[in-house]
Amino acid sequence: MNNKKLATVAKKLMFDVNENVLSKLEVEYETLLAEIKLIKEIDTTNVEPMVRVDESLTSFMREDEEGQTLPKEVILKNAPKTSGDFVAVKKVVG
C-alpha cells in the first residue's frame, strides 16, 4: 500500500484525495497496519461475520398502495440546472 495506490483507490470513489490527507496517511501507515493487526489477532474460528444487529429474518410484503411522495418542485429546488422536469447535467454519452 502506498500513496499512489491510495490515490487510485480514492479515484474509484470519484474524488482526488487532498495532498495533505495523502501525506498524513503515509506517515500513519505503520499505525494503521498495527491496528489491522489487532483485528487479525482475534481468533474467529467458526465465527460468522456479523453484518447487522438484528439478524432475524425479515420478509414482508405490503399492499401496492400509493404512498407519500415529494412534489417535483421541492426536489428540483436543489438542482443547479433544470430542464423541464429534469435535472440537467452535461452529456453522458459523447
Partner: protein
C-alpha cells in the same frame, strides 16, 4: 412531562449569539404547541431532514440542501408540541469524534475552550445550556455519549432500531442510532416515550417498549475491569461508588473482557464504519444530489464536487474504507472485522445475561486540543454498544482537574426500560439533579 422546561426566548438569544461555530440554523419563531413536550425546547443535530430549514450535515457538499420533508423524529417532536429552536453543527457528515471537523468551523468545549467537546454531536452538546430541555443527536460509535461525558451532561444511546432513522442522513447503517442529550434521566425517558416506535419508512426499526419507567435498584451490577487505564482519581471515585452500591445491598462483581478484545474495538469500528460510509455517501456526487461543482463532463463534475465538497477527515475515511473493501483486502480486513465484531458482541452479551447492568467510567476528561485524542483502547471502547445495538447512557459522575467524567450504564439489547429504571437509581446515588 419534561422536567427541565428550558426557555424559548433565552434559547433563541443564546443560540443566535453563539460564537463557537455550533449553530447552523436558529428558528426565531419557535413555539410550543400541545402535547407531551408542550413545555420543552429542543435542538436538532443538522443531520435530520427538516422541511423548513436546510440540512447540511456540516458539510460543504450539502451546503444549502433542502430535503423538503421532516425526518420521522422531527415529525414526532412537532406532533407532541416541542419548540424546536435550532439545528446544530457536527463533525462533518457525522464522521469524526472531536468537534474539529465541521466544515463551518471548529467547535470548542464550553467548559474550557482549549479542550475538545467531543463529537460528532459537538454543537448539540456545546449549546446545551439551561434554556434547552433536550438536544437530539446521533451515536454511531460514541457520538452522543462521548460529548456528554466531556461536557458534563446526560447522553443516551437507545437500542438500535428503537428510533426511526427515516430522514437521518446515514453514516454507518449497521451502527447509526438516533440519540440525545438531557439534563436528567427522567427527560431522557420522556423523550424515549415520544420517539420510540416502529416506522414503516425504516425497515430496521422495531417496537421497543418504554411505558412508565420507575426507579428500580439493580440487584446485580457488573463493573468492568479497566485494566489499569483509569487515572488515580477516577479509579478512586469508581471504587467509592462500588462501595456505596455494596452498602446498599447490591451484589457487585468485577467482570473482565480480554484486553486484546478491547483493543480490537477501535480498529473494528474504523474498518466497519469507514467501509459502510464510503458506500453510503457514494451518492453525494453533485449530479442529482450534493452541491455541484461543474467540470467538462459528468466524470469531472463528480470528481470536482466530491474533491472540493468533502473535508479532509471525510476524504481520509472514505479512502481507507475503499481500501478495506478492495477485493484483495475484503476477506482479510473487512470480513475479518465483521467476525471480530461478533466475538466482541458475544463477550459482552455474557455479561448482560448475568447482571442487571454493566457500569464503567465513560471516558477520560476531555483532551486538550494541543494533545489530541489519547491513544489506547479506552478512547474507542464505547463503540461496543453500537456493535451490539445495546442501550447505553452516560450520566454525570465525577470531575478531574475541574473537567467532568461520566458513568456509563449498559444493558441487554431492547431492555431500554430496564436500563433506564436502573439509571434513575444511579442518578440518585450520584446526587444528580433530577430536573
Amino acid at each position: 412531562m419534561i422536567k427541565h422546561k428550558g426557555d424559548i426566548n433565552t434559547a433563541i438569544k443564546n443560540l443566535s449569539a453563539d460564537k463557537n461555530n455550533a449553530v447552523s440554523h436558529v428558528y426565531k419563531d419557535a413555539k410550543n404547541t400541545s402535547g407531551i413536550l408542550s413545555d420543552a425546547t429542543f435542538t436538532l443535530k443538522d443531520l435530520f431532514a427538516t422541511d423548513n430549514a436546510p440540512t447540511q450535515a456540516s458539510s460543504k457538499i450539502l451546503e444549502g440542501f433542502e430535503p423538503g420533508y421532516n425526518a420521522t423524529v422531527v415529525q414526532k417532536l412537532i406532533e407532541q408540541g416541542a419548540a424546536i429552536v435550532a439545528k446544530t453543527h457536527m463533525d462533518e457528515l457525522a464522521l469524526g469524534g472531536s468537534g474539529a471537523y465541521s466544515a463551518f468551523g471548529k467547535i470548542n468545549n464550553p467548559l474550557d475552550s482549549t479542550r475538545m467537546p467531543g463529537g460528532s454531536s459537538s454543537g448539540a452538546a456545546t449549546t446545551f445550556d439551561d434554556s434547552i430541555s433536550v438536544a437530539i443527536g446521533s451515536d454511531t460509535g460514541d457520538s452522543v455519549r462521548l460529548p456528554a461525558s466531556y461536557t458534563g451532561i446526560v447522553g443516551f444511546k437507545p437500542s438500535y432500531g428503537a428510533v426511526s432513522r427515516y430522514g437521518v442522513f446515514p453514516f454507518a447503517s449497521s451502527l447509526d442510532t438516533v440519540a440525545w442529550f438531557a439534563h436528567n434521566v427522567s427527560d431522557v425517558i420522556t423523550t424515549s416515550q415520544v420517539l420510540f416506535a416502529r416506522d414503516d419508512k425504516d425497515f430496521t426499526s422495531k417496537e421497543v417498549e418504554v411505558p412508565k419507567v420507575e426507579l428500580i435498584k439493580p440487584k446485580k451490577v457488573a463493573v468492568l475491569n479497566m485494566h489499569g487505564v483509569l487515572s488515580k482519581s477516577a479509579a478512586a471515585d469508581f471504587e467509592n461508588l462500588v462501595t456505596k452500591l455494596k452498602a446498599d445491598g447490591i451484589e457487585v462483581e468485577e467482570v473482565t473482557i480480554e484486553k486484546s478484545l478491547l483493543e480490537a474495538i477501535g480498529p473494528v469500528y474504523d474498518v466497519v464504519s469507514f467501509s459502510e460510509v464510503s458506500s453510503n455517501d457514494a451518492n453525494l456526487t453533485g449530479i442529482s444530489f450534493g452541491k455541484r461543482m461543474e467540470g467538462n463532463n459528468w466524470e469531472e463534475t463528480m470528481i470536482n464536487s466530491r474533491s472540493k465538497g468533502l473535508g479532509p477527515m471525510v476524504q481520509r475515511r472514505f479512502a481507507l474504507g475503499a481500501l478495506y473493501l478492495l477485493h484483495e483486502n475484503q476477506e482479510e480486513v473487512f470480513i475479518k472485522a465483521q467476525k471480530v465484531r461478533r466475538v466482541i458482541v458475544d463477550a459482552f452479551a455474557k455479561i448482560y445475561e448475568n447482571f442487571d447492568v454493566l457500569i464503567y467510567p465513560t471516558a477520560t476528561i476531555a483532551p486538550k486540543w494541543a494533545d489530541g485524542k489519547a491513544k489506547g483502547w479506552y478512547q474507542s471502547m464505547l463503540s461496543h454498544n453500537n456493535f451490539e445495538g445495546t442501550p447505553s447512557i452516560s450520566i454525570p459522575f465525577t470531575k478531574e482537574d475541574d473537567m467532568p467524567i461520566g458513568l456509563s450504564i449498559d444493558a441487554k439489547i431492547y431492555e431500554d426500560k430496564k436500563m433506564l429504571s436502573h439509571a434513575l437509581y444511579f442518578e440518585k446515588v450520584l446526587g444528580g439533579k433530577d430536573e
